[in-house]
Assembly symmetry: C2
Homo-oligomer: 427 residues x 2
């Protein structure tokens, strides 16, 4: 256990809002009972007796939040990058995910994933498992041990997928119920269940209805995919001709925000109606820029989401994305937004470093509650970055050092990590 009060010293940076950083050079960040108590340039006399961990000239930022990542796909990160979404699912994803029927394979594969996530700058994540209940529980057991705070979902899919990985509708619902009971029985501190219908093309209406029952019974949040690829969207329209737009399908089944917290990955092609509904329902968007490049999806209109005041966070979307490193995802978000401005719509300017940092911290953090900021009362998730490996001849201010991290940081820069005031073992 941590002390009830302890203090980190360093160059503290967090997002006041999407436009503005709060920066405290050589400041004191106070943790009290797992929450941020305050930041001080000079430590108040009354706090004098508490332990101080002095990180010298390091940067201290809120922990990063990955709103969308597939644990079983970690094994083929950086592979098979020559297909669009639907073909890619069939050729790469389903055969690999099928292997997780074996708990032995899952142990090996998830061991690698969990170890690397633990060592990354990520403190919170929304994670897809597979359809398999035992493997998903194993994944949750492993994540729980790391101290990271995560939502994990057993995937549901009962149509339009190969037989070897397709569930029967009732089986899918029953297994999900059993999985929820198993999870509740385990009384995790940091690992929470989230309903995870893969996406509309692989879930029948009946299954959606069953999931809604479970959602209400256990008050669960929901994660899924939305408007990622033109072929996918046309398919959804075919499968659900009654829908106004793709997101409307989830909404008809009560799995699209409003009374249940929901995060939807991608939203590359969300039109005004879909955007309006997401806003109305408070749906979170997981922007996954690398994945959207790698499977040739396109570029989401993130600036528009921000201007409309939607909840937007960042997702690594491994293995559509190649890495769990969210700094890389932030850089990709800036980069692809500039190409969108240049090639598609010059009314939406490229994203700034401030904006993507906001999305990777407070923007996504809100899905977890008061997370992703160092304002008082927020949960104490912090990452200490030692950027001394990345030498430079000139002096750099803190804001510049943060921008460099977005482009250049990897796990070598991470000197310490805290989740809810608990230090995470990085070894």
């Amino acid at each position: 256990m941590s002390e009830p009060i302890f203090i980190l010293k360093g160059n503290i940076v967090y997002s006041r809002n999407e436009k503005e950083l709060a920066i405290y050079e050589h400041g004191y960040l106070v943790c009290r009972n797992g929450k941020v108590d305050g930041i001080y340039q000079t430590l108040p006399f009354r706090l004098g007796g508490n332990p101080i961990r002095d990180y010298g000239d390091c940067l201290i930022i809120p922990g990063l939040v990955d709103l969308h990542i597939h644990a079983p796909q970690y094994s083929y990160r950086g592979l098979g990058m020559d297909m669009e979404l639907l073909e890619w699912l069939e050729v790469n994803t389903f055969p690999e995910e099928a292997k997780f029927e074996s708990v032995d394979y899952a142990k090996k594969a998830y061991g690698i994933f969990v170890e690397n996530l633990r060592r990354s700058a990520t403190t919170r994540a929304c994670i897809f498992g597979t359809v398999h209940r035992p493997a998903t529980l194993l994944l949750m057991d492993m994540l729980e041990k790391t101290g990271l705070d995560t939502y994990v979902g057993k995937v549901n899919m009962d149509r339009n997928c190969p037989e070897y990985i397709c569930e029967e509708t009732q089986e899918s619902a029953d297994e999900t119920l059993e999985w929820i009971k198993d999870v509740n029985h385990r009384k995790y501190q940091n690992t929470h269940p989230i309903l995870t219908p893969r996406f509309t093309p692989s879930c029948t209406d009946e299954l959606m209805e069953e999931l809604k029952k479970l959602q209400m019974r256990y008050d669960l949040p929901v994660q899924s995919h939305l408007s990622e690829n033109p072929g996918e969207i046309a398919w959804v329209k075919e499968l659900c001709p009654w829908s106004e737009f793709y997101g409307d399908v989830y909404d008809r089944f009560g799995l699209f925000g409003a009374d249940c917290r929901t995060v939807m990955a991608h939203c590359v092609y969300s039109d005004d109606s879909e955007i309006a509904r997401m806003k109305e329902n408070g749906v979170f968007i997981a922007h996954c820029p690398e994945s959207n490049m790698n499977v040739s999806s396109g570029i989401a209109p993130v600036r528009k989401f921000l201007e409309e005041g939607l909840h937007v966070g960042i997702g690594s979307d491994v293995a559509g994305g190649s890495t769990e490193n969210l700094f890389r995802a932030m850089a990709h978000a800036v980069q692809s937004s500039k190409l969108r401005w240049r090639l598609q719509d010059d009314s939406l300017e490229g994203l700034t470093a401030e904006e993507v940092f906001y999305m990777a911290t407070k923007g996504g953090g809100e899905f977890f509650g008061k997370v992703g900021s160092f304002e008082p009362g927020y949960e104490f998730d912090a990452v200490v970055l030692d950027d001394s490996r990345l030498k430079h001849p000139q002096p750099l201010d803190i804001r510049s050092r943060l921008e460099r991290m977005i482009y250049l940081a990897d796990d070598r820069e991470i000197r310490a990590k805290y989740v809810k005031g608990q230090e995470i073992d990085l070894n």
Copy 2:
């Protein structure tokens, strides 16, 4: 000195051509007098007595070739990524490059650059310095010591730049001559001069004529920038109304291939006439995908260049690009080509892993002669990659392991590096 004959053992991969990899699992790569002698699955009896360096299950690939990088900009890599080209030059580039008037500053800054380039997978590079002769010579001295084989240019610019960094026309020509003499006097083994007019907007016609005289007198190659940004291109048209297209300006002065080896960075907006001229003149294109994203330039039609049979290599273009890591540049090339297909022109398919690997090895290597391949007679540039840090639960074939490297490798994967048969110190 190396032995006249030595042998590397490992999983050998190189590009036969832009479509096809040559792969030798646990093969023997023989170096004789700094050149590739051959590859064998079983070592011939006659070679039995020669030293073998067994790299176990590592990958062995040709050294990577960076066709475009700015040494003085390395200090602000990953910074100031919120402007288009011309503003970015004015705000970030010129003030930083001006500092290299001080040899002390250059020593510090170039020391960092050279050390990191040495430790990267790059074995060959075309490098921009600054306008300053002493600093550029210092850079060349430092590079020579690494054993890397590079072209380095003292930059020329005599118009349209701040006074503090602008040369007089005659001064620019004279300094360039003195610099060439200095370089020749030093008798470098691995470090070669290359004429480096910054780009048309910053070089008068008179300066171009002077540079052509030097080019002929010393038979020097040329590097510059071409058709990167719409604003830049419009400006060139204004400055040189007589030109048929941007590249035609360089060509009128005899600095565009044909009788002098030339590499042009970017070519994002090269039209059919410019492409035809580059083909006719044998101009090399340095494709710099990250830079083209970061300064919002656009995406070059690389597939078209390849189909037309042009010489295309890869450039990191630090600090338009954020990193000297050419694996990252290869990934960016694949990624941005897919966005181009999706958003701009679906007649040009995205690039494959094979194609970008070809560009980063043999495609760019041809600028240096017989470089970038393990075919017999090629110069022996090799990089040994230990990918064991990047764990995976399933078996992977060699081609897959190479694709992963493109997305995931950094300097941690580089176990050894050879240039012309000499091992490079990576410590």
